[in-house]
């Protein structure tokens, strides 16, 4: 209803600056458990940066939020959305990793404990101002008011009980240097963060392929019934694990082969993608980014004097 009201206001007074309307919806995927799905796109002005899955679990002790989203307004609207589902207060926000689409909504939860792995907390606290410049440039007005708000608390691997839900926290790495996955043992839902992607090409700005594959193996071993990937649809395991692992394995081999042939990065960008991956959302553009992230290491290993 609030979203609708905002829409009407926009029509009536079009010159007034209004919050970007994310039109967030909460999909109940298990008891007390909701996912707020994002689009399988890159940051742009139309999507307001909403390219990410966030989620929340309503416990008897309050609501646990998984990731705060890409902007202050997203965070506010996520909080309003939670308010339409439950009267219970937000008790804890968990940030899965230090990529801006997952934590720039922190500003809307300033009165709540926001926690992350220590590596994630440190990385957000140390993020350069240019990071925000870049996202403001891509996303535009939807970012209005967004600032860097580092997590205030630190979580570590192990069990975490909130109200009537028993969680298992996993400290992983591979997608970034510090990746948190959250298994709700009460429902069997695994919030995999960006260790798992489904139908959307994985992003690699800080990726370490070997560590990432090892992290996927750890997730496979969990007794999860349903996997919420950082990006892409919710599905039972191991679909997202398999697809992400297959892509990473192909990347590793394709980039190594290109380096061995002496290709320059500018040529690798135009490489033909296998059919399995060419159909993933934003495949071509994301692959070009990946070449910039990962190819220099492959090139160097070929050039270095053995």
């Amino acid at each position: 209803m609030r979203a609708l009201a905002a829409g009407i206001a926009l029509m009536l007074v079009p010159l007034q600056a209004l919050a970007f309307d994310y039109q967030l919806t909460a999909r109940e995927i298990a008891p007390d458990t909701y996912v707020v799905p994002g689009r399988m796109e890159h940051f742009n002005r139309a999507n307001g940066g909403n390219i990410v899955n966030t989620g929340f679990i309503v416990t008897t002790a309050g609501v646990v939020v998984i990731d705060s989203g890409p902007s202050l307004d997203y965070g506010r609207q996520l909080r309003q959305l939670i308010g339409t589902v439950t009267d219970r207060p937000v008790r804890l926000v968990l940030i899965t990793h230090a990529h801006p689409d997952h934590y720039l909504g922190n500003g809307a939860f300033g009165d709540v404990a926001i926690s992350a792995l220590d590596g994630t907390r440190a990385e957000i606290a140390g993020a350069p101002p240019a990071l925000l410049d870049g996202i403001y440039r891509l996303v535009g007005d939807a970012m209005a008011g967004t600032t860097l708000v580092p997590p205030t608390g630190v979580v570590t691997e192990g069990p975490l009980v909130v109200g009537d839900h028993g969680f298992e926290l996993l400290a992983l790495d591979g997608h970034t240097r510090s990746d948190l996955a959250v298994l709700d043992r009460t429902t069997g839902v695994l919030f995999a963060g960006d260790i798992a992607f489904l139908d959307r090409t994985p992003t690699t700005p800080q990726a370490d392929i070997e560590h990432w594959l090892a992290a996927l193996d750890r997730l496979r071993a969990l007794p999860a019934k349903l996997v919420v990937p950082g990006h892409g649809p919710v599905a039972p395991p191991p679909q997202a694990f398999d697809q992400t692992a297959a892509y990473l394995t192909w990347l590793r081999e394709a980039l190594a082969a290109a380096a061995a042939r002496g290709l320059d990065a500018a040529e690798v960008i135009d490489m033909k993608l296998p059919e399995d991956f060419a159909g993933l959302a934003v495949a071509r553009a994301e692959f070009a980014r990946t070449v910039a992230h990962l190819y220099p290491t492959f090139e160097r290993s070929v050039l270095s004097d053995k």
């Binding site: 002496g262 320059d264 500018a266 160097r300 050039l303």
Partner: protein, 257 residues
Amino acid sequence: MITRRALLGHGAGVAALAAGRAWGAAPMDPLQSVAWEDMRALLLGKGPVVFDDRITVAAPMAAEDALQVPFLVDAGALGRVQRILVFADLNPIPLILDFAPGRLAPLIATRFKIQQATPLRAAALDLKGTWHVAGQWVDAMGGGCTTPALAHGEADWTARLGETEARVFDRDGRRRIRLSIRHPMDTGLAAGIPAFFIEKVMVEDAGGILLGELATFEPVSENPLLTFEVPAGIGGDITVTARDNNGNIFRRKVALS
């Protein structure tokens, strides 16, 4: 002589050109860059210019890393060429490199620092004196030219200055050489850090005969990775000699076979 100042001043030149001068029958810039006419006047002189898609300019559509934007230029479809210029219209220092292939293949690849979204172009001068120009836009958040080199954070970057790595790859009979040189390639635009960059790379055969030479400019990325190709028929060792604007000389011998 082309000076950085002259190039830096091109922003003012654009306005002057727009106001007063027209190029008559000159072809329209397919990239619709505000700086195209200025680039043409500054870099290509008064010779004939054609836009020619036969030249490959491979580069990403968007710069993921403003400090390292890869590109590869291949003018092989034109046959032999005298020179290949690579430039980015809207960079504060537009000219990236000036390659005189000589007996080398008319192919060059390296990386450059991007300051803002800009056309990236290659202009190849054919044997008759016509410039053939191709290019594409590269989107960027930018700042690459005014960010200090990573080396600036290292207390003792001189210890590894000029270290080289090289390898030869077989490319359908041609030998592709990829060579990296450790060098900060400072543009002089980052506060307090003077311009310090490799400005010349010469490729000589085993007998010391010049095969081709490359003038490189401030926008070439830190620790340059150069890719060029030696046609079939040239054998033995080649020597690559690079010299920076402080007079440091770096040499690397590469065995072709």
